[in-house]
Amino acid sequence: MIWVDTLVQGILLGGLYALFAAGLSLVFGIMRLVNLAHGDLIVFAAYLVLMGVTLLGLSPWVAALIAMPLMFALGWLLQIGVLNRVLGKDILPPLLVTFGLSVALQNGLLEAFSADSRRIPAGALEGASLDLGIVTVGVMPLLTFISAIIVIVALNALFYHTALGRAFRATSDDAVTAGLMGIEPKRVFAMATGIAMVVVTIAALYLGMRANFDPSIGPARLIYAFEAVIIGGLGSLWGTLAGGVIIGVAQTFGAAVNPEWQILAGHIAFLAVMLLKPRGLFPRAVD
């Protein structure tokens, strides 16, 4: 029954990738913006949580709760101050700007925190596990996966059942006509990026508690997030979870065969899905 164990570990790992990807997916779905600094923003948030823990002596959960509004504000300001100015018909300027932001964040973090790898101490949860009969799962991976589901359910509820979500969808359809409805696209985009940064904070919490991180690891997380979003179909949040799970499962099975194959197997699964379904598993009808 070793393969059942591998499968379950892979699915749970997919939850982490889905958390990395959910904010990216949200922002892309609303404003067709690919934020190349997404991974570095996750790392930045992880340092923010770490500071709450080390400097203020807070538990990681409380530190993350405090980091969320700060990250929301950062996202809002980033959108209003920078990204809104470069969004337009041409997709290149926002790519260049977020790439620049990525480099700047990495260097800033290196300056502030050095290249040493760090970890958010999770106390007793670290290494704790739960015996489910057929398989034994780590408490931390399980919490990550549950959090991913909660995040996606919450984002979907926001997207499909609130006035703000209606404004998100309308603005994404047709920003000019949304303006005629009294909606200010730039404010809507700022809200979206703010919310994406709250999700980034949750991703950062688990990233930092589960593994070591240092200022340089952002781009690698971005790749997993990207692959999860693209496998799922651009703009579909459940698709993003499915994408994360596919990469996670491919990685654990790859690692089960040969530990060196873990990362490669994830990328191969991504390519395989792209060959079979170039638009992803759950593409949106209108694009």
Binding site: R166, A167, D174, T177, A178, G179, L180, M181, G182
Partner: protein, 234 residues
């Protein structure tokens, strides 16, 4: 005056589309704007609603210069538009398309979801459908209902009869008196001169970016209109 334009000019890049347009609409009025393809009617509507930004003093709302304000602010002041081509949001259902029209401004007046469904009963049956899954006439009804949801002071309708069958046009035009009864002034942009003259208190005719005729429907002859519309003596 509820809304005035003063010497309004507008361009698309190098191309000048409006050359000093003056129109005025007062509370409760229904004004029609007619003109051939390319006369600048839609450009005038886009300028009023802030899709095209102008000099502040070119558009006045209760005497206040609003020519440079963004669309969202104009809408919140109570000027709603049914845009050319309807422009429903494809990701939103019929009901959501209506709701979004009243989200940023509720306004005082009779219009809400129920009132719009009473005005266009077919929409009640179709409320869960995607807005874009409807027939052209039904889509036009959604676009009008969406604009009414904010209980606007002024409703701008850009070619609401375009591409629709005569019976459907009749149904849609039958809604306009009810809109006026609710206290909303109306501007209808029309290519159908007969329709325009039938509903309007005042008609403006445009040609090549200029107003070529202003008149009360009762006072104009076919010759006047022909000359103003095509720029030649009949």
């Amino acid at each position: 005056m509820l809304l005035e334009t003063h010497n309004l000019t507008a361009s698309y890049g190098q191309f000048r589309a409006l050359f000093g347009v003056d129109i005025a609409v007062d509370t409760g009025e229904c004004v029609a704007i007619i003109g051939a393809n390319g006369a600048g009617k839609s450009t005038l509507m886009r300028s009023i609603t802030g899709i095209i930004r102008n000099e502040p003093a070119m558009v006045l709302h209760w005497g206040e210069p609003i020519g440079a304000r963004p669309s969202a602010e104009i809408m919140k002041r109570g000027i709603a538009m049914v845009p050319e081509g309807r422009r429903l949001f494809p990701s939103l259902s019929v009901e959501e398309n209506l709701l979004i029209g009243g989200q940023a401004r509720k306004g005082d007046g009779p219009w809400n979801l129920e009132a719009v469904y009473d005005l266009f009963p077919i929409l009640r049956e179709r409320r869960k459908n995607a807005g874009t899954a409807l027939s052209g006439g039904q889509q036009q009804m959604v676009a009008i209902g969406r604009a009414l949801m904010s209980n606007p002071e002024l409703l701008l309708c850009d070619e609401i009869s375009l591409g629709l069958a005569p019976v459907v046009i009749r149904d849609i035009y039958a809604a306009l008196p009810k809109v006026r009864a609710g206290g909303t002034a109306i501007v209808v942009v029309e290519q159908d001169i007969g329709k325009a003259l039938a509903v309007a208190d005042r008609v403006y005719c445009m040609m090549e970016g200029r107003v070529t005729l202003v008149a009360k429907p009762a006072d104009v002859t076919r010759q006047d209109i022909h000359a103003a519309y095509f720029g030649e003596a009949a």
